[in-house]
C-alpha cells in the first residue's frame, strides 16, 4: 500500500508532539546526529546511593515478573495486569522502584544485556503511561545472568525472559 508522504510526516509530527514537543519536521533535536525519527522514552533519574537491585534494602518479591516472548521486548496482553498492579501501588506510595531486565540464554551476551535493558525500559514506559512518576523508576539489565530457572529448555527459557520489580524499602 502506498501511504502519502505528507500523511507520514504529519503522523511523525504527532508522535513527536506527544513525547517531546514538535520540532516542525526538522531533525535538529541533537547536535550529534540522529538515526531515524524515534524520540525515546523518559531519561532515567540519578541512581540512589547505596541502593541497587540486589541490595538487602530492596524487596524483589512483592510483584510478579513480566514475561516476554523470545527476542522480543513487547508487553504481551496477559502481562498488562501485573504492570497495572505495580502502577497502582507506586501511585500511592513514596517508594522508589528498580526494574531489572533479563533474557534467556539463547543469545550472545552483549546483545542480551541490551535486550534485558530494553525490556526493563519498556515496562518503565508502561508505568509512566499509567501515571507513575518516572523519576522514581531506575532500570538495570543482567542479560542472561541470574536465570530464574537454570534449565536449558523451553519451560526454563520462558521463565527467564522477564522484567522483575524491586521495591526500595
Amino acid at each position: 500500500m502506498k501511504t502519502p508522504r505528507l500523511f507520514l510526516m504529519l503522523a511523525a509530527c504527532v508522535v513527536a508532539v506527544s513525547f517531546n514537543g514538535c520540532v516542525t519536521g526538522k531533525k535538529t533535536t541533537q547536535p550529534s546526529g540522529s538515526d531515524a525519527d524515534y524520540v525515546n522514552g523518559t531519561p532515567l533519574p540519578e541512581r540512589q546511593e547505596g541502593v541497587s537491585f540486589t541490595s538487602p534494602n530492596v524487596d524483589r518479591d512483592r510483584f510478579h515478573p513480566v514475561y516476554f516472548a523470545f527476542d522480543s521486548f513487547a508487553i504481551g496482553g496477559g502481562e498488562q495486569g501485573k504492570i497495572d498492579q505495580v502502577a497502582q501501588f507506586m501511585r500511592g506510595a513514596s517508594n522508589t522502584l528498580i526494574i531489572a531486565g533479563f533474557t534467556d540464554e539463547r543469545g550472545t551476551p552483549e546483545y542480551n544485556r541490551g535486550l534485558g535493558e530494553r525490556r526493563a525500559q519498556t515496562v518503565r514506559e508502561a508505568l509512566i503511561r499509567a501515571g507513575v512518576d518516572g523519576s522514581k523508576i531506575q532500570t538495570v539489565s543482567f542479560g542472561a545472568e541470574m536465570p530464574a530457572d537454570p534449565g536449558s529448555n523451553e519451560g526454563a527459557w520462558a521463565k527467564n525472559r522477564r522484567a522483575e520489580f524491586g521495591v526500595v524499602r
Binding site: 541533537q30 531515524a36 525515546n40 532515567l44 541497587s52 543469545g107 552483549e110 535493558e117 532500570t139 539489565s141
Partner: protein
C-alpha cells in the same frame, strides 16, 4: 610504502608461474606447493636460549608464513643471543647477508615475541601477532571474571576477583589497558584496568546500563551502549568515559560497536528490524546503513585492522557460528562454530570462544588451534591491535 625484499621476490615468482604457457590448448592452473617462506632457527646462544627458541618457533609457526626446514635449504636463518631481559636477534639470507639485526628488551616471553613480530614484518610486510594481548571472560572461580594472556595462550592472568559479574573486556589498541562491564555497584558500569599496575577505575556510571565499551583505533575514544536517556543507544565518549555524544536514536537495542581502522565509522548490531542486524554509521553521527549478511541474527561484529572485513556471530537454528563478511564485495562466509570473534593485528587470524576454549583461527588456511582451555566456560574474547 616499504616492500620487503622477500615479498617482492615471491610476487615476481608468482607472476612468472601464473603466466599462461604459449600454445597450450587448455588453461593451466598451477598450484604452488607452498606460499610459505622456508626458514631455520640456527644458533641462538645465551642463558635462556632453549626457552627462547621454543617461544620463537611457536610464534613463527602461529603466524602461518613459514616452513621450518634444515639450515642448508632455508631461505632465511635466524640467530642471536638471549640473556636476561634482552635478545639480540639476527636474520640472514641464503647468501649470508644480514637482513635483520636488532636487540629487543622485555620479559622472558615479551622480548622473544617482539623479535618474532620483527622477523614477520621484515620478511613478509605483514604485522605480527606475537607481541599482542588477548583478554576474555572465564568462569573458573564460579563467577565471570576477566582474564588476559599472551596470544599464544601462555601467561594467563586473572584480572578481576569480584565474585560478581565481570564481562565484555575490550583491550586498548596498544594492549596497555582494557575496559569491561562490571556489576560491582549492582548496576552495569564500565571499568578501566591498567594492565601494567593493575589499577582499576569505574569510568562510566550513568543511570541504567553502561556496557559494551570499545576503544577507537587511536585509543582516545570509546563507543558504548548507554541507556540513560531512556533506551539502549550508542554513544561516543572520551577514553576516560566523559562527554557522551549520542549516535543513534531508534526504538530497539544498539549493541557491540566496532570501529573502522581510521576511526571514522562504526559497525554495530541493531535489533529494531525485528532481529539483530549489522549497521554502519559515521562515528560523528548521522544516518545508519544496513549491512546485508543474509543471516537472521547478527551480533558481536569486529572490524579487521586492515578495514576490509568484519567478523561477527550469527545464530542459525539455535547454534552460533562465526562469519566473515568482505566489505567490498559483500561476500559472507561461515568459518567456524563459536561466538565473539576478534581479529588479530595481522587481519589474518582471529580468536573466538567455543564452550570452554579460546580458539585461534587462521582465516587464510582455516587452521584452528586451541589457545586457552581449562578455565571453565569462556566468552567475549578481545585482541589488542
Amino acid at each position: 610504502m616499504k616492500i620487503p625484499r622477500a615479498l617482492s621476490f615471491l610476487v615476481l615468482l608468482a607472476l612468472f608461474q601464473a603466466a599462461p604457457l604459449p600454445g597450450a590448448d587448455t588453461p593451466t592452473i598451477t598450484i604452488s606447493k607452498s606460499d610459505k617462506l622456508s626458514i631455520a632457527i640456527g644458533s641462538l646462544t645465551g642463558a635462556d636460549s632453549t626457552q627462547a627458541v621454543k617461544i620463537l618457533q611457536n610464534d613463527l609457526a602461529m603466524s602461518g608464513f613459514f616452513n621450518f626446514v634444515p639450515a642448508a635449504s632455508a631461505g632465511f636463518i635466524i640467530g642471536g643471543a638471549s640473556t636476561g631481559n634482552s635478545v639480540a636477534g639476527t636474520v640472514t639470507d641464503r647468501a649470508g647477508k644480514i637482513v635483520l639485526s636488532k636487540t629487543f628488551t622485555g620479559s622472558e616471553r615479551g622480548k622473544v615475541h617482539q623479535f618474532a613480530d620483527e622477523i614477520i614484518e621484515t620478511l613478509t610486510g605483514s604485522k605480527g601477532i606475537a607481541n599482542s594481548k588477548i583478554a576474555f571472560v572465564a568462569t573458573r572461580t564460579g563467577h565471570k571474571e576477566i582474564y588476559v594472556s599472551d596470544p599464544d595462550g601462555t601467561g594467563v592472568r586473572q584480572l578481576t576477583s569480584d565474585a560478581n559479574i565481570s564481562v565484555n573486556p575490550r583491550l586498548s589498541p596498544d594492549g596497555s589497558k582494557l575496559v569491561y562491564t562490571g556489576y560491582k555497584s549492582g548496576y552495569a558500569d564500565v571499568y578501566e584496568i591498567e594492565l601494567g599496575n593493575g589499577s582499576r577505575n569505574r569510568i562510566i556510571k550513568f543511570p541504567g546500563t553502561n556496557s559494551g565499551a570499545a576503544y577507537s583505533p587511536d585509543g582516545r575514544s570509546l563507543a558504548v551502549t548507554l541507556s540513560k536517556d531512556g533506551n539502549p543507544e550508542l554513544y561516543v565518549t572520551s577514553a576516560g568515559g566523559g562527554g557522551p555524544r549520542r549516535l543513534t536514536r531508534t526504538r530497539g537495542v544498539e549493541s557491540s560497536p566496532t570501529w573502522s581502522p581510521d576511526g571514522n565509522e562504526i559497525i554495530y548490531s541493531r535489533d529494531d528490524p525485528g532481529a539483530p542486524q549489522l549497521y554502519r554509521i559515521s562515528s560523528g553521527g548521522g544516518s545508519s546503513r544496513l549491512i546485508n549478511t543474509g543471516h537472521g541474527y547478527n551480533t558481536e561484529p569486529n572490524w579487521s585492522p586492515d578495514g576490509k572485513k568484519v567478523a561477527f556471530t550469527v545464530r542459525d537454528g539455535g547454534s552460533f557460528s562465526i562469519c566473515i563478511l568482505e566489505l567490498a564485495g559483500g561476500n559472507c562466509r561461515v568459518v567456524a562454530s563459536g561466538e565473539g570473534p576478534a581479529w588479530g593485528p595481522d587481519s589474518r587470524h582471529l580468536i573466538y570462544s567455543s564452550g570452554a576454549a579460546v580458539i585461534l583461527l587462521d582465516a587464510q588456511t582455516g587452521q584452528k588451534t586451541t589457545l586457552v582451555s581449562g578455565l571453565g566456560k569462556i566468552s567475549e574474547p578481545s585482541w589488542s591491535r
